[in-house]
């Protein structure tokens, strides 16, 4: 182990210690997280309101889903081209294909023009592509709209947050106190009062002030270029309608063959996590009307312009070079693997990266920032239990991918010392305990 290895091992141990401190943010977060995981996994096997359990629903479509994702990845170039063509020709979308994240950042800035404020939905893709960091660096004001993220932003919260239910760990009293501190308004400590406050104030702003909005896509249909976006709050509905320009930023892996496939992806995400998608938006063009003498005019009540930035970055390379994590491209971002993950349950928010939380976020960090980043995120907390694999609706073996990253870490001298000692003893003495 080199000096960097020791340093990172100490960083991780420091994180564990902070998690043990009763009042630390890490601790608070973890306490909530344990409960969240418990409820999520439990909910998989409950019938709830449907005739089938979430698990049964996912199992019913699993084979179809896997086949569909494999088909896309085997022919990714074809689907990307087909999708871009149809989006341009049929949907009046302005489409950019960015080879790199950096290219995507510049395209976004150009699309932004003189605007200095971007309203965004919860978008892991935007984090992954680094748009948020880039915009912040360029003094663009980011306004969250998902209530969870609004709260996280209100608290100026530094740690990565849940992908499903961000901000759910804040107590009602803390939220009410924070709103008083930041906005000078005293609210009754009730969820409905908080929601009502944002409905009365922020909804108005969303209806009237949004010039540029940013969302990702749950899936995009190559067949007709339709963007599918699921949500429960209605913020995405507002962001995609009550705006001048709606910009969609996502990786090319979001493309699926047909609009039915795209809806299936959204349905699986909703059912598997037991989060209601009260609205599934299917967007096939900017708002338009032909009611005046049949002449088509864009921008009636909804978005005047819809801009799509499709990003490649590592994706085509992973396929062409058969990289060990290429299977991750099949991912439909349902985050189930995070809820059932042994390491994530045990280590909460310290098994995470700046891209979010859990093994997938660590993998993303590895892809963008290399092996040291992954080790620092808690790579070696992973027990290779493969719970992630067993629960994944598209059967991605994240555990196996983590194993490959561990091997690379060892090669780079970043493996925790006790583990390395065992290995040395096995290889030399043929017994780890001699």
């Amino acid at each position: 182990m080199n000096d960097k290895g020791k340093e990172l091992y100490d960083v991780i141990k420091g994180k564990i210690n902070s998690m043990k401190e009763e009042d630390s943010l890490e601790r608070q977060y973890w306490n909530f997280w344990k409960l969240g995981c418990f409820l999520k996994t439990k909910a998989h096997d409950l019938k709830n309101v449907y005739e089938d359990t979430s698990r049964e629903f996912v199992d019913k479509y699993k084979e179809q889903l896997i086949k569909m994702r494999e088909q896309v990845l085997e022919n990714l170039d074809y689907y990307v081209e087909k999708c871009i063509n149809v989006m341009r020709k049929a949907n009046n979308f302005k489409v950019h294909y960015a080879k790199t994240n950096k290219e995507a950042h510049h395209i976004f800035m150009e699309e932004l023009g003189d605007n200095k404020v971007v309203y965004k939905s919860k978008s892991n893709e935007a984090k992954d592509i680094g748009i948020i960091d880039f915009l912040k660096k360029n003094d663009i004001i980011i306004k969250e709209t998902d209530l969870g993220d609004v709260l996280v932003q209100l608290f100026d919260y530094k740690l990565p947050s849940f992908q499903v239910g961000p901000g759910a760990h804040f107590s009602i009293d803390d939220i009410v106190a924070k709103i008083k501190e930041m906005h000078g308004v005293e609210l009754e400590p009730k969820p409905s009062a908080i929601v009502d406050y944002y409905r009365k104030t922020y909804r108005k702003e969303l209806l009237n002030n949004v010039k540029v909005s940013l969302t990702s896509a749950n899936a995009i249909s190559a067949e007709d270029g339709t963007i599918v976006l699921g949500e429960n709050e209605g913020n995405i509905s507002l962001l995609t309608r009550a705006t001048e320009k709606h910009i969609v930023v996502c990786g090319i892996q979001k493309i699926v063959p047909t609009v039915l496939d795209a809806v299936l992806v959204a349905k699986i995400q909703s059912r598997i996590n037991n989060v209601p998608f009260n609205y599934i938006n299917l967007i096939s063009g900017p708002s338009s009307t032909s009611d005046i003498r049949g002449i088509n005019v864009l921008g009636m009540y909804g978005a005047k312009e819809v801009v799509i930035i499709l990003v490649d970055e590592w994706r085509t390379k992973a396929i062409k070079e058969n990289l060990f994590y290429k299977d991750y491209l099949k991912c439909i971002s349902c985050r189930t693997c995070n809820f059932v993950c042994t390491a994530a349950r045990a280590f909460g928010n310290i098994f995470a990266s700046k891209y979010g939380w859990g093994a997938t976020a660590i993998l993303t960090d590895y892809i963008h920032n290399g092996i040291e980043a992954a080790v620092q995120d808690g790579l070696f907390f992973c027990t290779n239990c493969e719970n992630c694999y067993h629960w994944c609706p598209v059967s991605i073996n994240i555990g196996e991918i983590m194993k490959s990253i561990k091997k690379e870490a060892k090669k780079a001298g970043l493996c925790p010392p006790p583990l390395k000692e065992y290995q040395q003893k096995i290889l030399k003495d043929k017994n780890p305990f001699k």
Binding site: I12, I16, K34, T41, V340, T342, A343, R345, A346, F347, F380, F381, C382, T383, N384, C385, E386, N387, H390, W391, K403, K406, K407, A409, K410, K411, C415, P416, P418, L419, K420, Y422, Q423, I426, L427, K430, N431, P432, F433
Partner: protein, 245 residues
């Protein structure tokens, strides 16, 4: 042609009575099986961090040892050994690897063995749970039904499924060498396994890694339920000893 009892280094180091029990069971069922003193480690703890070349060198060493001792079949009591011997040895050595690998659970499940054992519990009806270890449920030939067949065959024993079981079982948090570096992983997960027991008075595990974590958590948290290794449980029943004591 030698039939080997492959105990695994963790059990050999920490669980000598269990090793003796396992040997008793295996030899009772087939006396041709024997233990050899200098059996090398399968390499389990090194697999997650070693390069293919390092692994291959180690695996070849172990295979040469098997050959030198004319090992054609082995029964292992270690979930980790079973998982790695059946996966990587075949993968990396191909047809050069000619040892038939069985886990004790598979060995016991063979009909003539189950019949010969004819197990029963002599006390008041005993309610048990079985924990599916990752090493067994994830193996290239998963061991999932075998323990259930065995346990259901035992007279006066009531087998209960865990809330999360088979491929969805909760991991004890000790796998992948994590126990040697971040024990905290088990603090939450091993405890969750006990919480996940339905009805059972005792929890059985066939993995020495899981046992190590579960035992510690039981003691630290004053958990009343017993944690018992599969081999010990079976050996006790064979001898009419109450496994709970």
């Amino acid at each position: 042609m030698t039939k080997l009892i492959y105990l695994g280094c963790l059990s050999l180091k920490n669980y000598e009575p269990t090793c003796k029990n396992a040997i008793k069971i295996i030899k009772f069922l087939d006396n041709e099986y024997k233990v050899l003193d200098d059996a090398p480690c399968c390499g389990s703890l090194a697999f997650n961090i070693s390069s293919d070349e390092e692994l291959k060198t180690h695996i070849q060493y172990v295979n040469n040892w098997f050959r030198a001792n004319d090992i054609t079949e082995l029964v292992t009591i270690c979930a980790g050994c079973y998982s790695y011997l059946t996966k990587y040895y075949k993968e990396l050595l191909g047809t050069d690897f000619n040892v038939e690998i069985k886990h004790l659970l598979q060995f016991i499940t063979e009909p003539r063995n189950l019949e010969k054992l004819d197990l029963q519990y002599s006390g008041k009806k005993l309610s048990i749970n079985y924990h599916d270890a990752c090493h067994l449920r994830n193996a290239s030939k998963p061991i999932i039904e075998e323990p259930r067949i065995i346990l259901k065959s035992i007279k006066n024993v009531n087998f209960n499924e865990m809330g999360y079981n088979k491929t969805n079982s909760i991991c004890c948090g000790a796998g992948g060498g994590v126990y040697s570096i971040f024990k905290g992983n088990s603090d939450f997960n091993a405890k969750a396994i006990f919480d996940n027991m339905k009805k059972g008075k005792i929890l059985l595990t066939a993995c020495p890694f899981c046992y190590t974590a579960l035992k510690r958590i039981k003691e630290e948290n004053n958990i009343k339920k017993s944690i018992i290794k599969f081999e010990d449980f079976i050996a006790n029943l064979m001898e009419g000893v109450d496994p709970i004591n």
